[in-house]
Symmetry: C2
């Protein structure tokens, strides 16, 4: 069975922006009201952070419930893991997600700076350098036959796209323009040279762009 | 965690028909060219019966790959299991699916006639009578916390809808009219009194109708 590298439930604005340029501890996405991007996901029954019952089980829920389906590991950029830059001053920062991170698999955090692995609940974070192909090889091994999720952010996704390592992408385009920030693409058409694409509007207002390798 | 009863990837024609009235060993669906109904599913990468690599990974694939996601048991009508009627003359018939049925869970076959359970690969078939609520209770227990799939056919789905036991439905409406046969509904609107609905057209030509309880 092929082990795919999959981008899942990655949110961008109509103008292709996923985050502001200035990330801080208080603003993990560097955006005012980042929920403008991902409110669609929070409204679904399968949203991993849902604490109350209910939620929709329509089209959008197929995407949120697929988030961890057959996923055995995640690769994420350092800025998805935290707001720090440069060498790790201490190991106190353990991610944005509290004691129960929503990953439930090994997670490989890209960084040039060494740091020991640690485990929170059923998620273990490893800190790895090296080129994308080498990191993917490690993640595939850890995934034990399952697929690997490429968690973002934008810089990380572009890096793996440039190395032609991404097999599928699901990008949720929200009906808001942000103007400036970290941009995934100028247009969704940018990926058509290498990927099939389907564009699926949801009743929630978000539009799902689904890509798979030609 | 709630254990849902889910109808998944059930195919009907534009005029609501899922099968012909006359099922035979040679025509399990009682239809000429039943692939007119479910060709969309066979074209996806995650179709369980796919033997060659490839296949689409767009919208339709989200539906086929959700088929067994968090499913711990299936309930099916006797006619989905086989073409025989009345008492089991012998136990030679073991379903349409060969030695590797695509269910991988306990399957509860509705019948008024007793027959011993048997196992093929990782699927065990049980033969059960009783009202829908009782059968569902047995299937939920066997599913060990996971959801239960209601596999069809039409008569079985309608029976469980009448008993108000169905939590979600995914019905794929194919762009073909069949005129006569076993009809799931006069119109998809029939379910709106009890269910939310989203109607999602796919580039393949099929239209996905997704329902969840109000």
């Amino acid at each position: 069975m092929t082990q795919l590298l999959r981008v899942q439930n990655f949110n961008v604005s109509r103008d292709g922006i996923a985050a502001g340029a200035d990330q801080t501890l208080e603003r993990p996405f560097g955006l005012d009201r980042p929920e403008r991007l991902f409110a669609w996901a929070g409204a679904t029954a399968s949203w991993p952070r849902r604490t109350d019952p209910g939620g929709s089980r329509g089209l959008d829920d197929y995407f949120t419930r697929d988030f961890d389906h057959n996923i055995g590991a995640e690769i994420m950029g350092r800025n998805k893991f935290g707001p720090q830059r440069g060498p790790w001053n201490d190991d106190a920062w353990r991610g944005w997600w509290g004691d129960e991170p929503p990953f439930h698999t090994p997670v490989f955090v890209l960084t040039h700076h060494e740091r020991p692995s640690f485990t929170l609940s059923d998620t273990t974070f490893h800190f790895v350098g090296g080129d994308p192909a080498t990191v993917l090889e490690r993640a595939r091994e850890a995934a034990r036959g399952k697929d690997v999720r490429l968690g973002g952010g934008v810089t990380t996704i572009r890096q793996f796209l440039d190395a032609d390592l991404v097999d599928t992408l699901h990008i949720a385009v929200s009906p808001v323009d942000l103007g400036s920030g970290l941009r995934l693409w100028d247009s969704s058409d940018d990926l058509l040279d290498r990927f099939h694409r389907e564009v699926v509007p949801s009743p929630s207002g978000v539009t799902h762009h689904v890509f798979w390798r030609r």
